[in-house]
């Protein structure tokens, strides 16, 4: 019986964006159905809350300290471990369709393979390995790549330029003329990175990714083992879904998210209880990274802007779900679906109005760290009782999970066991804690965070940097404070818990290699 893995990722998607996780706006019946047949993880956590480090963890099964991709713009070495390579070496067909982002996007010198494939007219490049065998880039023999807009060197942009050049300018320009993240507002409320996009739906990147995935899958043989990573760029900003779809969600009808604090005085009070980079960013006095517009000041965010951004995200989530439905439909028509393990997740979350903030950054709270994760094991491979797993698990477990599905031993390079099938199995596999790291130095602003999630506790230590002396941090009791409004770091009655979590974190966090790898681009 062939073994197949459909690995589906979105980008910057919140846990509560899916119906199966309690979302009530976006209709996501496809992923909800997959969740109903498999395992739904209620606390899945990334190793980092921006794209490149998190995606590198998915591929390598390693913490950030080990794979060394400490921030966007730091390339994963070409010879880094890759579960896709392990599968390819074992005879699997391998594809990555959509957003890769193991290498920087801003690459005018075309130094990185991802940015050269489309112009070369290639679907991969092959290099000679240490054993003399020619092997595809990161183990993917087929790559068709996309990102959030129609500019640049990737396959989607090339396709759009060649087939629908009039549409290239319809998508929101994520960077402005100064190459900073664009602060320009649009839509009905002037919210940053929102645009009413006249692009026809079938030209939008979500449907393009599904089209290309269907095309590749359709060429596989009945006997092939395959690993297909379908990586949708949405619902990451820009928030510019095809305007033909805006009828799906009327932003004026949306309630404010639970994490929004309506009273600005109370909002500032809550932010002031957190380490200084929180309130500094809120007031626009401490912009430390490239993950949000440098000139946009979060304290100017209005309730209506939050509603409109959220409406756009809900629409993007619906379009992803429908695109995934087309891929699943093909698998059913081919009679393969029962032989396919489906894993669905994202790389990191998004504030979407929580704490009066948008986008992401050095903020280790549920908005950015609690991710959707669903695994439906192939029924023909394993009889699994549908379950909900509440134990914290990390995306660092994905590589070992894929190896397990393939019947391969856990690769030596991976740093976590496979995902558990239920809570009872979690402890035995070693799922006791999840670690998350942040390091940023852009604009000369240095912020470093180390976080442990264990049980219902999340504890973040700040390291010495531009606004921290290494003594501040965050401690949240998720069971009593799900919105993370009460920082217990300095609370004497929780000192023992804090210190125990910190000791656990420092003991288990891998040591980062020195010197740190170069950052070759802001993104």
């Amino acid at each position: 019986m062939p073994r197949r893995i459909l690995f589906v990722t979105t980008d910057q998607q919140r846990y509560d964006g899916l119906g199966c996780n309690g979302g009530t706006i976006a209709r996501t019946p496809v992923i909800d159905s997959i969740a109903g047949e498999g395992i739904r993880y209620t606390r899945a956590i990334p190793s980092n809350v921006v794209c490149m480090p998190s995606r590198s963890t998915m591929l390598t099964g390693q913490h950030v300290a080990t794979h060394g991709v400490w921030m966007n713009g730091v390339a994963l070495p070409v010879d880094a471990p890759s579960i896709a390579m392990d599968l390819w070496r074992n005879g699997w067909r391998t594809a990555l369709i959509g957003k890769a982002h193991f290498e920087p996007f801003l690459d005018p010198f075309a130094l990185f393979t991802e940015n050269t494939l489309a112009s070369l007219g290639e679907e991969s490049v092959y290099r000679e390995s240490a054993n003399g065998r020619r092997e595809p880039h990161r183990g993917f023999e087929h790559m068709e790549l996309a990102t959030h807009n129609g500019m640049g060197p990737l396959h989607y942009a090339k396709w759009l330029r060649e087939n629908h050049p009039e549409a290239v300018g319809m998508l929101y320009p994520i960077l402005n003329a100064q190459l900073q993240v664009n602060e320009a507002g649009g839509g009905d409320t002037g919210a940053p990175q929102v645009k009413h996009n006249p692009i026809p739906r079938e030209w939008y990147h979500t449907d393009w990714v599904a089209d290309r995935a269907v095309s590749w899958l359709d060429t596989q043989n009945d006997s092939d083992d395959w690993f297909c990573w379908v990586s949708f760029p949405d619902p990451h900003h820009a928030w510019d879904p095809p305007m033909s779809e805006l009828h799906r969600v009327d932003w004026r009808q949306l309630d404010m998210p639970a994490g929004w604090v309506d009273d600005p005085v109370e909002r500032e009070r809550i932010l002031a209880t957190k380490p200084a980079h929180w309130l500094g960013w809120y007031h626009g006095t401490f912009v430390s990274n490239y993950e949000a517009p440098a000139r946009w000041v979060p304290s100017t965010l209005t309730a209506d802007q939050v509603r409109e951004v959220n409406a756009m995200v809900h629409i993007q989530n619906e379009l992803v779900d429908e695109a995934l439905g087309r891929i699943i439909g093909l698998l059913r028509r081919k009679g393969w679906y029962d032989d396919v393990d489906v894993v669905f997740t994202t790389d990191h979350g998004e504030f979407q109005g929580d704490f009066g903030l948008l986008f992401k950054g050095p903020y280790h709270v549920d908005s950015l760290m609690r991710l959707p994760l669903v695994w439906r094991p192939a029924p023909s491979r394993a009889a699994v009782t549908p379950a909900t797993v509440d134990t914290p698990v990390g995306l660092v477990s994905l590589a070992a999970t894929f190896a397990d599905i393939a019947g391969l031993p856990r690769p030596d390079y991976t740093e976590s066991a496979r995902l558990p099938l239920d809570d009872g199995e979690a402890a035995g596999l070693g799922h006791e804690r999840v670690l998350t790291e942040w390091d940023s130095v852009l604009f000369g602003k240095i912020v470093s965070l180390r976080t442990i999630t264990r049980g219902s506790w999340v504890c973040t230590a700040t390291l010495p940097g531009s606004v921290h002396d290494g003594t501040d941090g965050e401690l949240y009791d998720l069971s009593n404070d799900p919105l993370q409004h009460v920082n217990l770091w300095h609370d004497a009655s929780h000192r023992a818990m804090r210190d125990d979590l910190l000791e656990d974190m420092w003991r288990t966090l891998p040591h980062a290699a020195a010197p740190r790898r170069a950052c070759d681009a802001p993104v």
Binding site: P104, F109, A521
Partner: protein, 113 residues
């Protein structure tokens, strides 16, 4: 080393660009991505072993000075220092990556010394 690095028309032999054209004190370089930069050669100082140039007439780049210094350590040893001052500042990261690539090429071409 300076006899090579100090010749502006040879940049494509060590920097990751596709082509170089020099006319007087102007240089045009084309990147693999197809982008062409027009540059003003500011300084070729054979005594200091310093080369300086500036990207000009570019709607995106509002300020730029690039400096290459070859510093002799011994008769057969030197270090090459590549510096960039640019606005938008984020482009400095991409140029830094390219310079790193170029410096590695120089090291391979001239040996570890």
């Amino acid at each position: 080393m300076w006899g090579f690095v100090g010749r502006p028309e040879l940049l494509h032999e060590w920097f990751p660009i596709s082509s170089t054209r020099v006319e007087g004190d102007k240089r045009w370089i084309t990147l693999p991505s197809g982008i062409t930069f027009e540059e003003q050669i500011l300084l070729v100082d054979n005594d200091l072993r310093r080369f300086q140039y500036s990207i000009i007439n570019n709607p995106l780049i509002t300020r730029h000075v690039g400096t290459v210094d070859v510093i002799a350590l011994a008769a057969d040893r030197c270090i090459v220092v590549y510096g960039t001052d640019i606005e938008p500042e984020v482009l400095g990261l991409a140029i830094g990556a390219a310079a790193g690539d170029g410096l590695r090429t120089l090291r391979e071409r001239f040996g570890e010394g």
